[in-house]
C-alpha cells in the first residue's frame, strides 16, 4: 500500500489514471486517509458535484493482511447531503482486494467532459478505463452481473446505482460481498452522487496473483491476531449475540426502554416491534433455509450478517441491519418483515442509504403522502426514487429536502443528515454525538472504545452532568481512530470490555508496521482526524449553530418517558475542547 491511484475524469480523451507515491499521506488508512486528502485538496466552499470535489476510496491500515476484521473500506469527499466533510465506511470484499493490489487509496478527481459513463478495471497488471454507456441507469445487482460475465468470478465491485447517476443526496457507493452481491454500502452523506458526478459507474478489482500483505514481524503478528480473535470469540456480544441475531438484536431492547423512534420520532415504542426483532428475523431466516450467521467479508470472525429468503425460500436480500429494519419498519409504522426486506433490496439495488430513505419516507408519511404503516406505498416511494420521477428526485435527496418540499417541521436531521435508530431524548448522550459530529447525525461517529481503556482526557466521572459531553468527545476520538485502521467497528465491544483484546489490536498494528504505538498514539490519531474534519467544516461555513438538534427535540416530550433533550447548547460547544 505504497501508492495512490489518481484518476482524472476530466482528462482529454477520457479519464486517465496515474499511480503516485503515497507521499505525505503515509501512515494513514481508512478515514484518516480520506479525511486527510479531502481536507488538504478539496476547497471547502466548492460544489460537492463540481470539478473541485474528489471522491477518495481508502482501505484500512490492516486491510489485505491476514488480520481478522480488517476489511472495512472508507469513502470520503465533500458531502452533497451535509455540505461538510464526509467519511462513510463499508464492509464487503473491496478493502482487502484493493490493499492487496497495493493501493492506499483511489482518488477520483476533475470533471467529465461529456455524459459518457465509464468502468474501471484494476488488477496486478494495471488499470484499464473503458467507456460503457450500456451501464447507464442500471441498478447495482445488474451492474455486478454484467461485470461478472465480463471479468469472471474472482472480482469484486465498487458501483453506484441509478440514485448515484442522478446525483441524489441519499445515493450510496456499493461494495460486493463474498457472494459478489452489492449488499454493502458506504451509505451516509450521498457520496454515491459524487461518484456519479465523475461519471464512473463501477470500479472492478481483481487481486488474482497478489499475495496477502506480509507483516514486518510475522510471528508477533500471528500471535497478536490469535489473541485478538480469541478476545472477539469469548466476548458475549461479538461471540454470541451478533452471530446469532445480527445487529437487529437491538430492536427489542430499544423498544423496551422507550428509545425506539416510531412514527417519525413521535414516540419511543412500536407495537409491532416483536414482529421485526432480531430474534424473530433469525427464526424466520432459519425456517426459510437462509443463513442468519454470515460474514460480510473474508476474515470476519464475528459473522453478524446473514441472508434473507422470501416465503418460497429464494434469496431476497442480505439480512437487513437494525438501522434498516427500524428506518423502514417502526419509524414508518411497518411491521411486515418481508416488505421491509424488499425495501432493503430496493435500496441496495438503486443505491440509496437505508437510514436516509427510511427517515425520508416517514417524513413523507407525516406530510400526508401516505399513511403510516402503508408498506406498499413505502415500496412505491423507493421505486419513484429509482425511476427518478419528480417525486423520486425529492425523496432521493433525503429527509431535509422532503421536509422542505412538503412543509414538514418535524424533520429529524442534523446538518441535513437523518438521525439513525436511537432517539436522542431517551439516550441523551447519543444526542450529543448526533449534534456535534462533523458528519451530521451519525450513530457510528461516537461508538468505539471506552474512555476507561484509552483514558482519553483522563478518567471521566460519568455521574457528573458534563459527563455526557466528555464521553461523547472521547467516543468520537476513539471512533475516528478505529475507522482509520479499517477494522470493523464491532470490535469495539470486545475492546471496550477486555483491555487485553485492545492490546492485541495494538500489537497487530505494531508488529505489522514495526511501530511501537500505544493507547496514547491511538488517541492522538483520532484527535488529528477530528481536527482535520472540523477544520474543513469551519472553512466550509459551519458554525456552532450547526451543532444542534432540531428545536422540537428540546420541546416535544417523548413517550413513554416524556423526556426532552436537555443538554445545553453551551455544553455542546465544549465537546471539541481538548
Amino acid at each position: 500500500m505504497d501508492k495512490i491511484l489518481r484518476i482524472d475524469v476530466g482528462a482529454g480523451g477520457g479519464p486517465q489514471s496515474k499511480a503516485v507515491p503515497v507521499g505525505d499521506y503515509a501512515g494513514f488508512g481508512g478515514r484518516a486517509m480520506t479525511s486527510a486528502i479531502v481536507s488538504k485538496e478539496v476547497p471547502p466552499l466548492c460544489h460537492p458535484l463540481g470539478a473541485e470535489n474528489k471522491l477518495v476510496i481508502a482501505p484500512g491500515l490492516l486491510s489485505g493482511t491476514a488480520g481478522a476484521q480488517s476489511g472495512r473500506i472508507s469513502v470520503g469527499g465533500k458531502s452533497p447531503l451535509t455540505g461538510g466533510i464526509k467519511e462513510a465506511n463499508s464492509g464487503g470484499q473491496a478493502s482487502q482486494v484493493l490493499a492487496k493490489l497495493g493501493y492506499a487509496a483511489i482518488v477520483l478527481e476533475g470533471k467529465p467532459a461529456n455524459d459518457d459513463l465509464y468502468k474501471i478495471f484494476i488488477n496486478k497488471d494495471g488499470v484499464k478505463i473503458t467507456k460503457d454507456n450500456s451501464l447507464k441507469m442500471l441498478p447495482n445487482y445488474d451492474v455486478v452481473a454484467k461485470m461478472k460475465a465480463e471479468y469472471g468470478d474472482a472480482i469484486c465491485c465498487i458501483s453506484i446505482g441509478p440514485a448515484g447517476e442522478m446525483k441524489m443526496g441519499a445515493a450510496t457507493v456499493a461494495f460486493t460481498d463474498m457472494e459478489m452481491r452489492p449488499t454493502r454500502h458506504a451509505g451516509r452523506g450521498g457520496l454515491g452522487a459524487v461518484m456519479g458526478s465523475k461519471n464512473i459507474k463501477v470500479i472492478v478489482l481483481d487481486s488474482t496473483g497478489m499475495p496477502v500483505r506480509p507483516p514486518k514481524d510475522p510471528a508477533k503478528f500471528q500471535d497478536a491476531n490469535k489473541r485478538f480473535v480469541d478476545g472477539l470469540k469469548k466476548h458475549p456480544v461479538t461471540g454470541q449475540g451478533l452471530p446469532a441475531f445480527g445487529t437487529n438484536v437491538l430492536t427489542n431492547i430499544l423498544n423496551e426502554v422507550g428509545g425506539y423512534p416510531t412514527y417519525n420520532f413521535k414516540q419511543g415504542r412500536f407495537d409491532g416491534a416483536s414482529k421485526i426483532s432480531g430474534e424473530t428475523l433469525a427464526e424466520t431466516e432459519k425456517s426459510r433455509g437462509a443463513n442468519p450467521t454470515h460474514g460480510c467479508h473474508r476474515g470476519c470472525v464475528i459473522q453478524c450478517s446473514g441472508t434473507y429468503n422470501d416465503k418460497d425460500g429464494h434469496y431476497l436480500t442480505k439480512q437487513p441491519e437494525y438501522e434498516t429494519v427500524w428506518a423502514h419498519g417502526g419509524n414508518c409504522g411497518i411491521s411486515d418483515m418481508d416488505k421491509i426486506a424488499m425495501m432493503d433490496f430496493l435500496d441496495d439495488n438503486y443505491g440509496i442509504d437505508t437510514i436516509e430513505m427510511g427517515a425520508t419516507i416517514a417524513v413523507a408519511m407525516e406530510a400526508g403522502l401516505a399513511k403510516f404503516g402503508d408498506a406498499d406505498a413505502a415500496i412505491n416511494f423507493i421505486h419513484e426514487v429509482g425511476k427518478g420521477s419528480p417525486l423520486g428526485r425529492i425523496l432521493g435527496n433525503g429527509a431535509a429536502m422532503t421536509g422542505k418540499a412538503f412543509g414538514v417541521e418535524r424533520v429529524p436531521v442534523v446538518k441535513n443528515q437523518a438521525m439513525p435508530a436511537y432517539d436522542p431524548r431517551a439516550v441523551q448522550g447519543i444526542g450529543v454525538t448526533y449534534a456535534t459530529s462533523p458528519m451530521g447525525a451519525d450513530h457510528t461517529a461516537g461508538y468505539a472504545v471506552t474512555a476507561n481503556v484509552l483514558k482519553v482526557g483522563g478518567d471521566v466521572n460519568a455521574l457528573k452532568p458534563e459527563g455526557q459531553v466528555e464521553l461523547s468527545r472521547n467516543l468520537q476520538i476513539a471512533t475516528a481512530a478505529i475507522d482509520s485502521t479499517g477494522m470493523c467497528l464491532f470490535i469495539a465491544f470486545a475492546v471496550l470490555d477486555q483491555p487485553d483484546t485492545f492490546q492485541a489490536l495494538l500489537d497487530m498494528l505494531n508488529s505489522f508496521y514495526g511501530l511501537s504505538l500505544t493507547g496514547d498514539g491511538v488517541t492522538d490519531l483520532g484527535k488529528k482526524v477530528l481536527k482535520m474534519e472540523r477544520d474543513f467544516n469551519t472553512r466550509a461555513g459551519f458554525t456552532p449553530q450547526h451543532d444542534r438538534l432540531p428545536e422540537y427535540f428540546k420541546t416535544e416530550k417523548f413517550a413513554p418517558h416524556n423526556v426532552t433533550f436537555a443538554v445545553k447548547d453551551e455544553d455542546l460547544d465544549k465537546v471539541f475542547n481538548w
Binding site: 427489542n252 431492547i253 423496551e256 416483536s274 427464526e283 436511537y422 431517551a426 450513530h443
Partner: protein
C-alpha cells in the same frame, strides 16, 4: 421458587404442549412479547432473579441489561419488583446504545434521563403477577424453565404462533386444553380460545403422541 406456579391457578384455561425438543425454541418468540408469571413480589430484582426465576450466578452475570417498567436498572440489589411490574432481561448488546443500557456500565450516564430509580413508594409483599420479557440469549437461558413451569400468555399471540408454524406443530407436538386433547388443526381463525383472552401455557419436552 416459593410461589404457586400459574399452571396451578384455576382462573384461566390451561393449555399444555408436549413436544419434540427442537420445537421448544418456536415458543421463545412469545417470551419477547412478554408472559406473566405469578411469583413473590416486594423483593429486589436480584432476589427475584435468583429465587423466583431460578437464575444462577452465571446466568445473572450474563444478564447485562435489565429493564424494570421500561427503565434500565443499574442496581439490582435495590430495585424492587412490584405487583404488575414488567421485567425485561437481555444479554450484553452491541453498539454504543447497547453499552449504554448495560447495568452500571461506564456509559450509563448517557441514558440517565430514563434510568430506573426507586421512588420510595410502599411495595406490597406477597404473591403477585409479574410480566417477564426475555430477549436474545436469555430466551434459551431462562425460557425452557419458564415454559415448563407455566406462563400466562395472550391467547391471540399463541394462536398466531401456532398458525404460522401449523404443519410443524401438528407433526411434532401434542396438546391438551383443560385436560382434553386439542386439535391443532382447528385453531386457525379461533383467536379467543375457549372464550379466554389469556391462557395458561405449559410447554414440556417429551414423547409426542400425535
Amino acid at each position: 421458587m416459593n410461589a404457586k406456579s400459574p399452571a396451578e391457578n384455576p382462573s384461566f384455561a390451561h393449555c399444555t404442549f408436549v413436544l419434540e425438543e427442537r420445537l421448544v425454541t418456536r415458543f421463545f418468540l412469545l417470551l419477547q412479547q412478554g408472559v406473566k408469571v405469578r411469583r413473590r413480589v416486594g423483593c429486589t430484582v436480584a432476589a427475584f432473579l435468583r429465587e423466583e426465576l431460578g437464575a444462577g450466578p452465571d446466568t445473572i452475570e450474563k444478564i447485562q441489561s435489565i429493564m424494570l417498567d421500561g427503565k434500565p436498572v443499574d442496581d439490582i440489589g435495590s430495585a424492587l419488583i412490584h405487583e404488575g411490574s414488567v421485567l425485561a432481561l437481555s444479554a450484553a448488546m452491541p453498539g454504543l446504545v447497547g453499552a449504554t443500557l448495560r447495568r452500571g456500565g461506564a456509559y450509563s450516564s448517557l441514558r440517565s434521563a430514563i434510568s430506573y430509580h426507586e421512588t420510595g413508594e410502599a411495595c406490597k409483599t406477597g404473591e403477585g403477577w409479574v410480566c417477564i420479557k426475555l430477549f436474545n440469549q436469555m430466551m434459551a437461558e431462562l425460557g425452557p424453565g419458564l415454559l415448563r413451569q407455566g406462563v400466562l400468555v395472550r391467547s391471540p399471540d399463541l394462536t398466531d404462533l401456532l398458525a404460522e408454524r401449523a404443519e410443524e406443530f401438528r407433526q411434532g407436538c401434542s396438546a391438551m386444553l383443560d385436560n382434553k386433547a386439542l386439535d391443532l388443526g382447528r385453531l386457525e381463525g379461533n383467536r379467543s380460545w375457549a372464550g379466554n383472552d389469556q391462557i395458561l401455557l405449559t410447554v414440556t419436552v417429551g414423547p409426542v403422541n400425535v
